[in-house]
Symmetry: C2
Subunit: 415 residues, 2 copies
């Protein structure tokens, strides 16, 4: 069962959870002065409109028409009931997922890449620089840049650049330029932290170039709330009231936030973050101010962190390999509004293969973390003999991650 909606049902305003957070968010701090950063600190990197959204206290922010025009190329995304998975599990739970894999780049990332490209272009910027790990974010930004006729330079973690050429080719097909990072030292395999440093340095030093970040920041999570807003409307179409639990995988937190933030005010709805055991920021990190990057160029953010020098093992869920979490997500976990759970890779892929063989589609390794938690929730409901409505985020497809499945089948996974 699948609930689609026509393009005119794409939400025309984003939901801003920040003004309703209790306790309120702590501000980002300047690393030198440890005073709150102001717009001037961010202006070399971001357009004023995004800086305004980052600190806005308005609960709703209008989506520009030009952004809606592009989002409507694939949105609203379908809400799907995973009936065949339910039957295979023999669970009384009703499992729904919001399918963000249908975007041109294959994940939720274009939801924020498009407005970020638009606002930059509107303020006269015609070139964007960014980093990418496995390539999900870099490809989303290259897609968005192509549609607004902008240049896009992607600093790609060298290990991925060398080993996973498909995302690079995708970026280049859209006209983006990809270089391996760290640029300064070709002998290094690189990391997301070092690639952020390269991209920030590029944007800070070049007139007409800005930087774009694909997760963590408030404005990124804001843009992703179209996911949860649409899902709420589609659940009503499916004849459901509120879900009992909403589940999403968490790297930086943008997919998770996009799905869950519109449910924060619904007190009876449990919110669950799922992360890898090998990068357990929410389940084993400390809540503290820390840098967003490895080198220490970014403001200090209040978040759960494993320390900005933590290098996660190279698990297949590249999008979940980040030492920290979005301040908004961290706030919700700290206050007890959101739960967090961690799983090792093999358990995650076991659930992913079960999903592929019942529902038919092959999920991304990141998405598969959410699926693992969903299966366990559905089995718990069966144990209790209790109905339960589960909503989860199908953040991306696994078509460029098939070697991960090959490793799983051949017992080559650890972590």
């Amino acid at each position: 069962m699948r609930w689609t909606m026509p393009p005119d049902k794409v939400p025309e305003a984003w939901f801003n959870v920040v003004p309703s957070l209790v306790p309120p968010l702590d501000p980002p701090l300047h690393p030198g002065t440890r005073l709150p950063v102001g717009p001037d600190d961010l202006a070399p990197l971001f357009p004023m409109e995004l800086i305004g959204q980052e600190v806005s206290s308005e609960p709703w922010i209008d989506v520009p028409g030009e952004v809606l025009d592009v989002l409507r190329l694939w949105r609203p995304t379908p809400l799907v009931r995973a009936t065949r998975l339910e039957q295979a599990l023999g669970t009384p739970a009703r499992i729904y997922y919001k399918d963000e894999s249908v975007s041109p780049a294959g994940s939720h990332k274009p939801n924020t890449a498009v407005p970020q490209a638009f606002y930059n272009k509107a303020e006269g910027i015609d070139r964007l620089a960014t980093e990418t790990g496995a390539g999900q974010w870099g490809s989303a930004l290259a897609f968005a840049a192509a549609l607004f006729a902008m240049e896009c330079k992607v600093y790609m973690v060298r290990a991925s650049y060398d080993q996973k050429p498909y995302r690079r080719m995708m970026i280049e097909t859209w006209g983006g330029q990809v270089v391996p990072s760290p640029v300064a030292d070709p002998s290094q395999p690189g990391s997301l932290g070092s690639a952020i440093s390269d991209a920030v340095a590029d944007a800070a030093s070049r007139q007409g170039t800005h930087y774009a970040l694909g997760s963590v920041l408030n404005h990124v999570l804001l843009h992703q709330t179209v996911i949860g807003l649409e899902a709420k409307e589609q659940l009503a179409l499916a004849g459901e009231d509120l879900p009992d639990v909403v589940i999403g995988c968490c790297g930086g937190g943008s997919n998770l936030g996009g799905l869950t933030l519109p449910f924060v005010a619904d007190a009876g709805v449990r919110l669950v973050a799922v992360e890898p055991s090998s990068c357990p920021t929410l389940t084993a990190g400390r809540f503290d101010y820390d840098f967003g990057d490895t080198v220490g160029l970014t403001p200090l953010l209040p978040m759960y962190t494993l320390g900005h020098e933590f290098v996660p093992p190279s698990i297949h869920a590249g999008g979940l390999r980040y030492h920290g979490d979005a301040p908004i997500i961290s706030n919700l976990v700290k206050s007890g509004r959101m739960e967090a759970v961690a799983y090792p890779q093999a358990k995650v892929f076991e659930a992913a293969v079960h999903f592929a063989r019942t529902q038919g589609t092959i999920p991304a390794p990141e998405t598969s973390h959410a699926i693992r938690a969903v299966v366990d929730e559905a089995l718990a409901a069966k144990e209790e003999g209790a109905e339960r409505v589960i909503l989860f985020g199908y953040s991306g497809h696994g078509l460029l991650d098939l070697s991960a499945y090959d490793d799983y089948r051949n017992d080559r996974l650890d972590g």
Copy 2:
């Protein structure tokens, strides 16, 4: 702009063009006797229900409920108006495409894989054998087999098996078994013809195993007519009457037939087949009886053919590398109802990249042949200053073909 329809709008009957063809189809012949083949000749390979569909004179054939249940996992597929491409071309033409890339296997192939698996299962068969070139058909059948809890053995052309591991991994993720073909001679790179021979030999020699073919035969094109039937309904939703021209790429002809057959009776609608210059069956082949495979195990089919020993160059559009064409398509071309045009690879990828940078999605190399013809139709309309409604088949995505785009950008294409 995009027109979606709810799952209950999947057509509940397939359209069978065969009884309305003028002149009628010539029958397939037994290669030994050169007499028309009968059901008994085909029974070792196919279930009786499919054999019946192959020769049916009924204009409509009901889709079983169990098949509808699975098709509704992704159908109806969207009809999309390529507004951004129109604008980039400055054409007065209105360009629509039927997006079959949204299926779990990423192409139109599951439309027939699902009923083929179902009818076999219903007649007590629990194992299917088939061949695959680049892997589109093999992955579609493995997907369908997984959903009906059947075994699936795929003989994959060895060159693809060695060089393109992703489709093999996809098949294995769904639980299928893949072996390189020819099985008998590991020193050979193989061909589609030899892989058909391996698969047919497997099915003919094993109790409980049948063979499944992904194109060419009447029942395969029949199952694909859901594409054109849905498109007709969606064009009406879009406020269009009939299209002026319907365009599809042609390998064996199942995608092309699925889209165009429901328009055959609409006299004013032009139908256009697009094929590669390097495998020009319709534009440079002869109309004759020929074998479907290389070795000569299959019945003789009346079709345009380059000769069953013709080995096409290894262009990226693996799905268009076939020495013949479906008898139904051949009949339509021979009678003048359908036109055919051929393009070289570089022209095809030029159009594909233009599409990706305007519409956002990256098409399969096969699909890109149709896009090349669409662009030329749209430019002709511009030249004439004439409105024109163009419908084309977006048969699959290019996410597992990104190296083809890399070759295009780096001038490594020929043919």
